[in-house]
């Protein structure tokens, strides 16, 4: 009568997550993330609701809380691990830039347009920048990138270098 200490995670599940995350997480980190997912997901629904995410105090005071919660709510565990994979220290520069790009691309059309940037800047700067300031910044940014329709992933890659994103890692606490 063995008891599954990991609460239902089989080796096959772990292998699947490892391959989907392209090796960003190792087995112990996945176990830890799974425990975390289960503790956040009250009622064993299989996904974390927006309210449960916002009950994390440190997340609720983050300027981009709303934007991120929209990507993270209602995802199952595999997607949860995949989304966070960009923050592993084994994640490539490519993955980190792509994550930032996807956050900025609010409407998800593959291009960070004028509207996307306005929404994001409003979230990032709050009431400290007026509407005119934001409009000006957006214009100047599009100008600098040289593409009036919007910024592509390439523009992000050209602007953000590897050393800029060096701090973009989180440590998953493992029992070891």
């Amino acid at each position: 009568m063995g008891q599954a200490i990991s609460g239902g995670l089989t080796q096959r599940d772990v292998d699947e997550v490892i391959s989907i995350c392209k090796g960003a997480w190792n087995q112990y980190e996945i176990e830890s993330l799974y425990k975390r997912f289960r503790s956040l997901d009250r009622g064993r629904k299989g996904y974390i609701s927006a309210e449960e995410l916002m009950s994390i105090p440190e997340l609720s005071i983050n300027p981009l809380a709303q934007r991120l919660v929209r990507s993270f709510e209602s995802v199952n565990f595999v997607d949860f691990a995949r989304l966070l994979a960009a923050f592993s220290d084994r994640a490539s520069y490519e993955e980190k830039v792509r994550f930032i790009f996807r956050v900025y691309d609010v409407d998800g059309d593959g291009l960070v347009t004028h509207d996307d940037m306005q929404i994001m800047l409003r979230q990032l700067a709050g009431s400290s920048l007026s509407d005119d300031d934001i409009a000006w910044v957006v214009r100047k940014a599009l100008q600098e990138a040289g593409s009036p329709q919007g910024l592509s992933l390439e523009a992000f890659k050209a602007t953000l270098h590897a050393e800029d994103l060096a701090g973009m890692t989180v440590t998953v606490p493992t029992e070891l």
């Binding site: 503790s39 009950s55 440190e58 609720s60 983050n62 981009l64 000006w136 329709q149 910024l151 800029d164």
Partner: protein, 415 residues
């Protein structure tokens, strides 16, 4: 959290001191951390705007682990049914617990409740108010609590001198479950400040415990708090009342951590008696996660386990020193209790379980946003976006927007 920075204590005070939240500590921890990170040599506007990695990393770190929710998780119990002979023994034990012990205990509890109510209400309605009546009621409540402890076959060891009623003294303890009160009351009667619960618990609270001078409140109502504070002070000052027990954490914590102590109990100028309660999780975890279980379910769980094992330590009474502030006093007493009960102290306010920090303190988010905005502002021409829109060779798509903005600003200026 910005990496390597602790959320300052003033932030997590649940009091109406909004002045505290705006204090210098917040500036330091949050804002300067951001400013340090964004401080860099000549960077283009695009680089500053797009590099939001610190905000994202903090969010991701919070999602992966945070020190607040840790205080309310129960460790999975260690199973011991590891092999072919331990497993059947465990199974027999389980059947015995659920089919023999539990019904016996439930019968005991219900019978003693019946007995208690008969005598208690006779006394309550029959006897005139007097010191004797209070003593009789206390004795009866002690009996009932003792029966509760018996219904879990509780093994409770009390260490330290037994409390005696005295004016100007108050007792504080760490909080794991409502049974904390029952365990302490089985030893010596206490009055308590508690959240009013619905159902049969609320009935017991209002009809029975009221006689001891217990104070009920609704933790989400701010007005309640000041009323309670006054009644608390009155109760403590009177030497003829039952000793007052306060749980300064304000919420049930999992007996591994100790969340922030609220200052109410320490602000009254009374001598504080710290009481440390440590549960031995060997048979059952006594932490009551009120979000997952109702109190009845919690009691059923306790009653169908082998025993509740607990150590209660009555520590040396403390008074506030002259050079100590109320918060420092509370922290000192908290450290004493945490050390005895082997708990880790965390600076979070227990009430964060019930409200969203970002909603209650939007100023915090705005302060962090301001740092980002200031970085961008260094690129704005002097005087804001106003003057520039005329001179800029704006791309065709944005020309209309620029003209509109200029026009709007121009008319504003003219006024």
């Amino acid at each position: 959290m910005p990496a390597g920075h602790q959320l300052p204590d003033s932030l997590t005070t649940a009091e109406d001191g909004d002045a505290d939240v705006d204090g210098l500590e917040i500036e330091k921890a949050y804002v300067e951390a951001e400013a340090e990170r964004l401080q860099s040599q000549q960077k283009s506007l695009l680089a500053v705007m797009l590099n939001i990695n610190s905000v994202l990393t903090d969010a991701a770190a919070a999602m992966v682990d945070d020190s607040f929710l840790k205080c309310f998780t129960s460790a999975a119990p260690d199973p011991w049914n590891w092999n072919f002979y331990l497993a059947p023994i465990w199974l027999l034990g389980m059947l015995f617990r659920h089919l023999v012990l539990f019904p016996l205990r439930l019968t005991l509890l219900l019978t003693s409740h019946l007995l208690f109510f008969m005598v208690f209400f006779t006394v309550k309605l029959g006897m005139p108010s007097s010191a004797l009546k209070l003593r009789v009621e206390q004795r009866l409540i002690r009996f009932l609590c003792g029966m509760y402890v018996a219904s879990w076959t509780g093994v409770i060891k009390f260490h330290g001198p037994k409390p005696v009623p005295e004016g100007g003294h108050v007792w504080v303890a760490n909080h794991t479950s409502m049974i904390d009160y029952i365990i302490l009351s089985s030893y010596t009667a206490f009055a308590v400040i508690m959240q009013l619960h619905p159902g049969w618990v609320g009935f017991l609270q209002t009809t029975v415990l009221d006689s001891l001078g217990c104070l009920w409140f609704n933790r989400t109502q701010a007005k309640d708090r000041s009323l309670v504070a006054q009644r608390m002070a009155d109760h403590v000052a009177d030497p003829n009342t039952t000793p007052l027990l306060i749980f300064p954490e304000g919420t049930c914590v999992n007996n591994e951590y100790c969340v922030m102590f609220k200052r109410g109990a320490f602000d009254m100028g009374a001598t504080v008696h710290p009481v440390a309660i440590k549960y031995n999780k060997i048979f059952v975890d006594a932490f009551w996660n009120s979000k997952r279980l109702s109190f009845t379910q919690h009691l059923v769980r306790l009653m169908s386990s082998w025993a509740v094992v607990c150590d209660v330590y009555f520590l040396e009474p403390q008074s506030r020193r002259e050079d100590e502030s109320v918060d420092e006093f509370a922290a000192r007493v908290q450290a004493m209790i945490a050390k005895q009960a082997k708990l880790r102290v965390v600076p979070w306010d227990g009430y964060l379980k019930y409200y969203n920090l970002g909603e209650k303190h939007p100023g915090l988010i705005e302060k962090r946003r301001k740092v980002f905005a200031d970085q961008l502002k260094t690129f704005l021409p002097a005087g804001g976006a106003v003057g520039s829109s005329k001179q800029e060779a704006a791309p065709a798509a944005a020309a209309a927007a620029a003209a509109a903005a200029a026009g709007k600003k121009g008319s504003k200026k003219a006024n």
